[in-house]
Structures are given as structure tokens and as C-alpha cells.
């Protein structure tokens, strides 16, 4: 059999040639700062994108009017393609836009890739920036420098069934402990319902339990994060969350595999007494069977009357380092993330503004968003501003931890220690 020998020889030959390095691209920042020309913008394409386009078009029209000789070309990209597109844009500056919308958990990663422009000074000089919500600002900050302007935020709160509560004579829970007992009462009285529907893969639904108990995902500053998920406080939170996966609330067999969207689906279909859902889940719930029979309150904290810290998701607008229109691009970013645009975007799409004053106006106009604004005002949390986060997130460290506990494969201490080890390895590797 000569074949394997030949193949081995070929493989060996290939390894010998391996003396040279793989290809890279040069994405150094551009020196030019043209004051005229075409600016390219990437925004996310939403399912009902027309209203967003209208708001953006009017902001762009005003921008073009104010800046003679500048033309703006907006492209809408599907959210699901963002990872590949943005990487490609960093690799090939010719294809890259000048300004783009990006998910706020991606900030640190994009900064490490060398793709985003530092706009700390411009942000400081921007008059509207003063009203920016601190957590929103934290989501554009890496190592004390700012890499964009917050565009909108998304936050989760407690959805509950008003008809079920009324029928069973239940009160809206005031503390996390009450939340658990209320959930069990619902399930006991109506076994076909989940009390509070929870998901083993629903990280952002679980984290408020950890945060409310005083735990943290990670502690430390820029670059030298250390996992805090195995601290005593965090373990208390993990125990509180995972104890909800029981036959008297949400059976592990069905709930361990659920993600955030599955829990909302269950609630919308009338299969749950309570659920943790975002302001963005509103449409899905309205389309479901429970329309008109539910209400939303902030998720209660440990002590009576407190609100559990929620994860502040959302999107930012940033300028790419490779832009050849630095000044114009920054101004366009400010125009797109301005109070006026954010206010119209709320009216058009329901995106929660990142400016506290604009948000309060929104809450006054639309009672539905009130609990979400309250949650934001009470203080929110953000993921560690480290490029390691994308690694931790994509290798499912936290869902694995919750699922190990829920399915009885490990106890809280062992599972959280294992997760902390994996997180620390990730933090260490990006150093």
C-alpha cells in the first residue's frame, strides 16, 4: 500500500513550507480626514424595518443638509450575519463602512481586533452626552476609553398573568423569596402551568439572581479580570435560581434546555404564570394567547421593595478606525445616536433610549415601558469589558454551569468552581 506513504510525504512537504506566517491584513487607522464624500453606514435590519428606515432617513437628510458635500449611504444588514460581516470589514478596509451599529457585548472584542475608533474626546465634547445612562456609557467603555455612542438599551423584567393572580388571590411578589413561593402556589393550583418559567440556557434571566444576592460575574479592571462566579454570594444566587427547576415550579426535564426565547414562548402561549422577559419581547407576548391578561413589574430583589439588577443589553453606534472621514463620521454617529433620533426610534420601533431624560418622556407616553425604565433607573449591570467575554459567551460556560446543577450532574460549589476556572482561563488567554 503505497498510498499512505505518498500522502504522508505530501503532508510533510506542506509542513516544511510552513516556515512562513499566515496572511494578515493591514488595518491601521487612516490619516486622511476628508470633509466631503460618501459616508457608509451599517445598521441592523430588523424584522419590521420600514419604520426604522424612515427615522434614519430623516436623520440622514438633516445631516446631509448640515454638511454640504457629504453623502450618506445606509445599508441594513441582518443581525445574524454581523459576526462575519464585521470581521470581514476589519480585514478589508475597502469594504468597511465608516459608521456601524453593533451589539454592546461585542465592544471589547471589536476594540481588541483593532476595528473601532477611540472617540473619548468627541464624546466628552458632545453636549447631549451628559444625560447618558451610566451603564449604557459603560457598555461603550474599554480601559477607560470610549468607543462609540449608546444607541438603545434592552432590559428584562417580570411578566405575570393578571387573570391567574386574580383567580388565585395572589399578590405581586415583593422579594425574590416571595417570587419562588408565588411561583410554586401557581403550579400547585394549576399543574398545567409553569409557576415562573425559567431556562437553563437563559443566562441573562439567571444573572439578576446572582447580582441581587451580591454576586458578580467577574471583578477587576481592564484586562485583569478574575471570575467571581464561585464566590459565596454568587453561589447563593445560583442556588436561588436553580432551585426553581423543580417539579413544583418548572420541571428540569423541560426547563433545563430552555433559552430566553423559549420561556417567552411558553408565557405567550399561556403555559406559565410568570416569566422574565425583555421590553423587546412585548410584540411576541402581544401576539400570543395571553394578550390583555398580563402585566409587567420590575424583577424583585432580595429585600422588600428593591429591584434586582438587570443586564443592560442593547446596541451602540461606533466609528471604524479605517474611516477616511473621521470628523464627519463622528458627527454622523452623534446625529444617529442623538436624543432626537432616539426619541423617534422609540416611537417607531419601541427601542428604549439611552438618555435618562428621553427615557422618562418615553415612559410617560407609553405606560408599558414604565417597569423597564424603573429597572434601568434602579441600576443595571453589564458583562466584563474584556475580549474574553465573547469566548466565555460562545463556549457556553454559564449555561453549562446552570445545567449541570439543574440536571443534578454537579452541585453548586463544584459547578461554579469549574465555571470560574474556565472563565479565568479565558481572561488569562487574552491578556
Amino acid at each position: 500500500m503505497k498510498l499512505p506513504t505518498r500522502l504522508a510525504a505530501l503532508a510533510a512537504a506542506a509542513l516544511v513550507v510552513a516556515a512562513c506566517a499566515p496572511q494578515t491584513s493591514d488595518n491601521s487607522s487612516s490619516d486622511t480626514d476628508d470633509k466631503t464624500g460618501t459616508l457608509r453606514v451599517w445598521l441592523f435590519q430588523e424584522v419590521g424595518n420600514k419604520p426604522k428606515e424612515q427615522v434614519v432617513d430623516s436623520a440622514v437628510a438633516a445631516f446631509e443638509k448640515a454638511h454640504k458635500g457629504a453623502k450618506v449611504d445606509v445599508e441594513y444588514i441582518p443581525v445574524d450575519t454581523r459576526a462575519q460581516r464585521v470581521k470581514a470589514a476589519f480585514n478589508d478596509p475597502k469594504s468597511a463602512p465608516d459608521v456601524m451599529e453593533y451589539g454592546n457585548t461585542d465592544t471589547a472584542g471589536y476594540v481588541q481586533d483593532g476595528g473601532l475608533l477611540d472617540v473619548t474626546e468627541d464624546f466628552g465634547d458632545w453636549s447631549e452626552a451628559k444625560a447618558t445612562d451610566p451603564t449604557a456609557k459603560q457598555s461603550v467603555t474599554v480601559d477607560g476609553k470610549l468607543y462609540g455612542a449608546p444607541f438603545y438599551v434592552g432590559v428584562r423584567a417580570l411578566y405575570y398573568r393578571t387573570d391567574v393572580f386574580e383567580e388565585l388571590g395572589l399578590h405581586v411578589p415583593k422579594t425574590m423569596a416571595e417570587l419562588a413561593t408565588t411561583a410554586r402556589k401557581i403550579r400547585a393550583a394549576k399543574p398545567e402551568l409553569y409557576g415562573l418559567v425559567v431556562g437553563g440556557a437563559y443566562t441573562y434571566g439567571a444573572m439578576p439572581f446572582v447580582w441581587a444576592n451580591g454576586g458578580e460575574l467577574a471583578t477587576g479592571k481592564s484586562g485583569s479580570y478574575a471570575s467571581g462566579i464561585d464566590s459565596a454570594a454568587a453561589r447563593k444566587g445560583i442556588t436561588a435560581y436553580t432551585s426553581l427547576f423543580s417539579d413544583d415550579n418548572c420541571p428540569a426535564a423541560k426547563c433545563a434546555g430552555m433559552g430566553g426565547n423559549d420561556t417567552i414562548t411558553a408565557f405567550a402561549a399561556g403555559k406559565a404564570g410568570m416569566a422574565i422577559g425583555g421590553d423587546f419581547s412585548h410584540t411576541a407576548v402581544e401576539a400570543g394567547k395571553v394578550k390583555g391578561e398580563y402585566a409587567v413589574v420590575p424583577l424583585p430583589g432580595v429585600t422588600s421593595g428593591s429591584i434586582a439588577p438587570a443586564f443592560a443589553g442593547g446596541n451602540n453606534i461606533g466609528v471604524l478606525k479605517s474611516t477616511s472621514h473621521r470628523t464627519l463620521a463622528v458627527q454622523l454617529m452623534e446625529a444617529l445616536a442623538s436624543k432626537k433620533t432616539q426619541a423617534s426610534l422609540f416611537d417607531a420601533m419601541g427601542f428604549l433610549p439611552t438618555f435618562t431624560d428621553v427615557r422618562d418622556q418615553a415612559a410617560a407616553k407609553e405606560p408599558f415601558v414604565k417597569p423597564f425604565v424603573q429597572t434601568l433607573t434602579a441600576g443595571t449591570k453589564f458583562v466584563p469589558a474584556s475580549p474574553a467575554w465573547s469566548q466565555i459567551d460562545s463556549s457556553l460556560v454559564l449555561p453549562t454551569m446552570f445545567q449541570e446543577v439543574v440536571s443534578g450532574k454537579k452541585d453548586v460549589a463544584a459547578a461554579s468552581a469549574e465555571a470560574a476556572k474556565k472563565m479565568d482561563a479565558a481572561f488569562g488567554s487574552v491578556g
Partner: protein
């Protein structure tokens, strides 16, 4: 002989046909569920009463799919890409399959195996090198950046597949053709090509589907010019991470599946006729 066979076969044929229809129903059921999902109103797609019908069929999901900016353009682009891939890979693979079947030369077997190597690694691992390649060829953001890699990725299978069909053509036929004074080129295109057509049909269905359904290359190489996007991009819009639009997904997938079925109906006749008859002569 025919009469004897008919008698023996009849009850068996009915059983076989009943069986085929039953399998067809089972296989088609998920497809039916998909199409049904496209017509159901949003709240009914995942409801606690999973009915196999809907009382309020709605075209809203299809409207959201077809109402996307430049949808027609995407459709056309997908047709161009899949069409180019089918034709180019078919012709190139036919030539290569003839070479490895009708001739013996050094490295023949090694080559055949090397063809398969690229399929054995995760495609994600190849996108970065391919990206730089496409950039250096100046193909980024054009349909060429989709056509070229898809030709390359469907070739190995096509060559291996056609090999079997070329091999099945008796060499006596080739000799007869040469004795009749046919040139090598004439034999290749006018005699061999029609004989391996069923194999070409099977391979073209394969390359059509893989090019038509591709997400990864379209995401990675069509970066800044959305007018060069293909259909799967119109489908991805509905996969919102926190709030997926299942109605849109089902409607988009239905719209994407229909052209493949049309393509298959157009070519399937070739699958059934062809070689079987030719060898008998």
C-alpha cells in the same frame, strides 16, 4: 417473460406502492408543518393546541419576506450563482472523471483522495484563507466570490460520482466509436456525455442545493454591497437573537424550497431515462 413477471409482481407492487406513499407522507409532514407555519398567524405557530390546520390563514409572513428591499434581486443572484455552479462544475467534473476512469497514470488514486481532503475540515476554518484569496482576486462583494468556492466545493463529489457512471459505459462502445472514425473530442461530447447524463443530473441536484442554501460564504464574502446578496440573507433577517420571527422563517424557507423542487421536476426525467436504455442497444 413479461406476462410471468406481471403475475408474480402485482400484489407486491401494490404493497410497494402503498409503502412508497406512506413514506412520502411521513417525509413530507415536516415540510407541511413548515408551510403551515408560514400561513399561521404569529401567535399560533407555537401554541398549546398544535393543530395541523389553521382557521385564520394569513399571508402576512409572506408579505414580510417578499416585502424586503431588493428581494427580487436576491432571488436572481441566487439563480445566477446556482446556475453557474451547476454548469461549470458539471463540465469540469465530467472531464476530470473521464481522465481518472479511462486512463491510468501516476498519482491517480492519490489525486482522487486529495480531492476529498478539503471537505474534511470545518468550513469555518477555510473562510479566512478563502477570504484573502477572494480579496486578492478582486472578487469580494461580487457573485464571483460565491461561484468560485462553490464550484470548488462541489467538484470533488461530482468527480467521484461521475467516475462511477463513466466506468459503467462499456469500453467496447469507445472502441466502436473510434473504429467508426470518431475523434476523441467527438466521442467525449457526443457519445459519452449523453450516457452519463443521469449521473450528471444527480450531481447537479447536489451542487444546486448546496449553492442555493449556502449561508456562510454569502455572509463572509458579500460584505458591503447588499445588491450582490443571495436569498439566504433574506431568510437570516428573521433569526433575531432575542425575538425570532418564526412565521417569517417558515415563509422564507418555503419560498426558498420551491425553486429547488421546480429545478428537480425539470431534470428528473433525465434521471429515469438515459443509460439504462443506452446500454441495451
Amino acid at each position: 417473460m413479461r406476462a410471468v413477471r406481471g403475475l408474480v409482481a402485482r400484489p407486491w407492487r401494490f404493497a410497494a406502492e402503498a409503502c412508497a406513499l406512506l413514506v412520502a407522507v411521513v417525509v413530507a409532514f415536516p415540510l407541511y408543518w413548515m408551510v403551515l407555519g408560514a400561513f399561521k398567524p404569529a401567535g399560533e405557530i407555537r401554541s398549546s393546541e398544535p393543530r395541523p390546520w389553521t382557521l385564520e390563514p394569513s399571508l402576512d409572513s409572506f408579505r414580510r419576506v417578499l416585502g424586503q428591499q431588493e428581494f427580487g434581486r436576491y432571488f436572481l443572484n441566487s439563480l445566477v450563482v446556482a446556475g453557474a455552479v451547476v454548469i461549470a462544475s458539471g463540465v469540469i467534473a465530467f472531464l476530470a472523471a473521464t481522465a481518472v476512469t479511462r486512463f491510468r497514470f501516476r498519482f491517480r488514486t492519490t489525486l482522487l483522495i486529495m480531492f476529498l481532503v478539503a471537505q474534511m475540515v470545518p468550513v469555518e476554518a477555510l473562510t479566512i484563507p478563502l477570504f484573502f484569496l477572494m480579496r486578492d482576486f478582486g472578487q469580494l462583494n461580487t457573485l464571483g466570490s460565491l461561484i468560485l468556492p462553490h464550484i470548488a466545493f462541489s467538484l470533488p463529489f461530482a468527480i467521484w460520482m461521475l467516475r462511477g457512471f463513466v466506468k459503467a459505459v462499456p469500453e467496447a462502445l469507445e472502441e466502436a466509436a473510434y473504429l467508426d472514425g470518431a475523434s476523441r473530442t467527438r466521442f467525449l461530447w457526443q457519445i459519452l456525455f449523453p450516457l452519463v447524463l443521469p449521473g450528471l443530473v444527480a450531481t447537479s441536484v447536489f451542487s444546486f442545493i448546496s449553492a442555493w442554501n449556502d449561508f456562510l460564504f454569502a455572509k463572509s464574502f458579500i460584505i458591503s454591497d447588499t445588491s450582490q446578496s443571495t436569498l439566504p440573507m433574506a431568510l437570516l433577517v428573521f433569526y433575531e437573537p432575542d425575538d425570532p420571527d418564526w412565521g417569517g422563517v417558515m415563509a422564507g424557507s418555503t419560498v426558498m424550497t420551491i425553486p429547488v423542487l421546480v429545478f428537480f421536476v425539470l431534470v428528473q426525467r433525465r434521471l429515469v431515462s438515459g443509460l439504462g436504455g443506452a446500454v441495451k442497444d
